[in-house]
Subunit: 401 residues, 2 copies
């Protein structure tokens, strides 16, 4: 293979991984387990919510007209008819001149059209003095005001937040249709790599990228499956890749920072399927491989930790988002002012790690082989391919880690 | 009990929950399980990272001085001495006038002080033509440049991201000291509440708040434990609370929107321990209870869904953050321009739900009994107690859900 890569723009890499992402399959799970999962179908309310006109305060249900002009100085006097019991249909209705005690959440009795808060009343024997005028409908949550029976409460593709889980409970969705969690195989290659439990000897380093990739995959709603460290041996790597393709929905091959490792990964992917892209116009992260085998995406990540991480956030996350079925994946971006000039090479997207402090984004420069720049920075700024750099004082969007 | 609550400022409520939060206990778990968990101790590198001078490119290790003035027009010619094998100590060293092939990640051989990228060289028999000048140290990652042996790589209290997991792997931290996941008991009260699996009859609604609270607790790194729906019966509620106090680290009592329920919860907490706060100057969310029993926090949430949710994000999250040991809990805030005037009552903090679109924050007004406003909005803006409102066009910080 050539020492020069044929690089493609980041946008093409993203479009490619989105195109080859396998469609997620579906399952049904209990509501208590659904936090953070992605809906695989629109959910409809099975009842009207609420199913009755409901008080939103503790107070007295009244004819609003009976309170017209009522004030501290001139209260309206209404005859009280007892109380509404929680959880039961309203019993007695009221006639003009009457009122009935109603707790928050109680059913509005027939004849009543508003509630006076208890703070604005005073009990006087069998009568109640109302010290405030209320309007028609005041302090009442109307029948089906929240959701109508049959209405879509949440849409397919929504990643479920705490509020969403509350809405699903109200809508009667005790078992939730969701997309299955994709399983992502992770293979490490490189003769220089040793397990975390080993102490590296001269020339060796610990395999940290596969752990980073596994955690990233998990943060993006997928399940990592680790296959361990493969030596730079074609048969060994091929056996691992075939096994991972059989057990997972996609495979990440965490290089191998040397060209030999990368070439072997590319050759193997080509042998078992196809290499679609080898080289992206991104810095750091150029020597990335995007391929497919057994109809499953196979991504070769660059070996330098910072390069691998930038490729994960800039490209691989789009693959994972598509595979999880998330229709509106979150990208945390905050606005900041750039503290220094940042030059950039035209024709490639540059991702510059930055530290955020008091609204200022300060570049954290450092070789892409370093891990420490990743944990000392808060996110990255992206310099588009058509730009030659950004100037100190410019407003920039910072993608938070 | 009085119908009027003695309300305290939000800041006092936060300080109180932080004070009564039990200290988290610790455990040690495998690195693969540590994503999203919180470190309970500083982690030190057990080795120098890297442990040797390392090439960051594929190329030729050289004496930088030998390349001075080298260019396409006048290349330097160096005698090649073979190659560095990955994962092994460097064998042969080089003398001036010599070079050696080195893959990315290889050990810099004795005598070499820089690497020329392979793209800038040309093989010519046993010699290599170098077409570019390199500086001393160029393309070399130095011994312990990433982390020195013994250096703190990550601090206690850090919630572990993907990059952090990578750093821990490099630092040899195969088993990670973390704070245990706090267990939060959730009890629902209210005669009007029925389970999600039931169809509500007249006067009834489904219990959605306890599901919402459970999911919220999970989103904030805790484990919810649900005790189900308790009828408005003191002995039943007391038995549930005692059981939850025995099994959990803190308990949320999801009201009961009626005053009867709230009063019963407050009376029970007082009986088993103490009610510290009953009423917060927050809207929505005023009728919140903060108490303690068996040295464990017990929080009574208001019954209206939007009120309960605002109390969760404005107050309870500070309790959970403290209990998880998270030293720098994340609060996603984005800047936006307010689309409408929003009046507010002086003396209380108002939390107004907003929809975010193209940098504009549009208030989503709606009764606090509604769930739909929570899923139709993207977050809230906070109007401080000392303010009487915000004006259209003002810049505001939006707390994203």
């Amino acid at each position: 293979m050539s020492i020069f890569l044929h690089v493609v723009p980041v946008s093409e890499a993203i479009a490619t991984v989105q195109k080859i992402a396998p469609l997620p399959v579906q399952e049904t799970i209990p509501l208590e387990k659904a936090t953070g999962r992605v809906l695989s179908a629109d959910i409809h309310a099975d009842v009207d919510i609420p199913g009755f006109d409901r008080s939103v305060v503790d107070g007295f249900a009244v004819h609003a007209a009976d309170t017209t002009g009522a004030s501290d100085a001139i209260p309206a006097m209404l005859h009280t008819k007892g109380r509404v019991e929680m959880g039961h249909p309203a019993g007695t209705g009221i006639h003009p001149g009457e009122c009935i005690y109603i707790p928050t959440g109680g059913v509005l009795p027939a004849g009543a059209d508003a509630i006076v808060m208890v703070e604005n009343t005073e009990q006087a024997g069998g009568d109640v003095l109302v010290r405030k005028t209320v309007a028609h409908g005041e302090n009442v949550l109307l029948y089906n005001e929240d959701f109508s029976k049959g209405a879509v409460v949440l849409c397919r593709g929504r990643r479920l937040s705490a509020q969403d889980i509350g809405v699903l409970a109200a809508a009667g969705c005790a078992r939730v249709p969701v997309f299955c969690v994709p399983v992502i195989g992770i293979i490490s290659t490189g003769n220089e790599l040793v397990p975390v439990t080993d102490t590296p000897k001269a020339g060796q380093i610990r395999d940290s990228n596969s752990f980073m990739a596994g955690a990233f995959v998990q943060e993006h709603g997928c399940l990592p499956k680790h296959y361990g460290i493969m030596k730079d041996d074609r048969e060994v790597l091929r056996a691992a890749l075939e096994r991972a393709l059989g057990e997972c929905d996609a495979v990440l091959i965490s290089g191998g920072s040397s060209k030999d490792d990368r070439d072997m990964a590319a050759a193997l992917i080509a042998e078992l399927g196809e290499v679609i892209i080898h080289g992206i116009a991104i810095a750091p992260g150029k020597p990335t491989i995007i391929g497919r085998a057994d109809k499953k995406p196979v991504i070769g990540l660059p070996g330098h930790p910072a390069s691998a991480f930038i490729v994960l956030i800039a490209v691989v996350r789009h693959l994972l988002d598509r595979m999880t079925g998330d229709a509106a994946p979150e990208q945390k971006v905050v606005q900041a002012v750039l503290a220094n000039n940042v030059p950039s090479q035209k024709g490639r997207e540059d991702y510059v790690r930055v530290k955020l402090e008091n609204g200022m984004a300060t570049p954290v420069f450092g070789k892409s082989g370093l891990l420490n720049t990743l944990v000392k920075s808060d996110g990255v700024i992206r310099i588009p391919a058509e730009s030659e750099g950004l100037e100190s004082g410019e407003r920039v969007g910072v993608w938070l880690w």
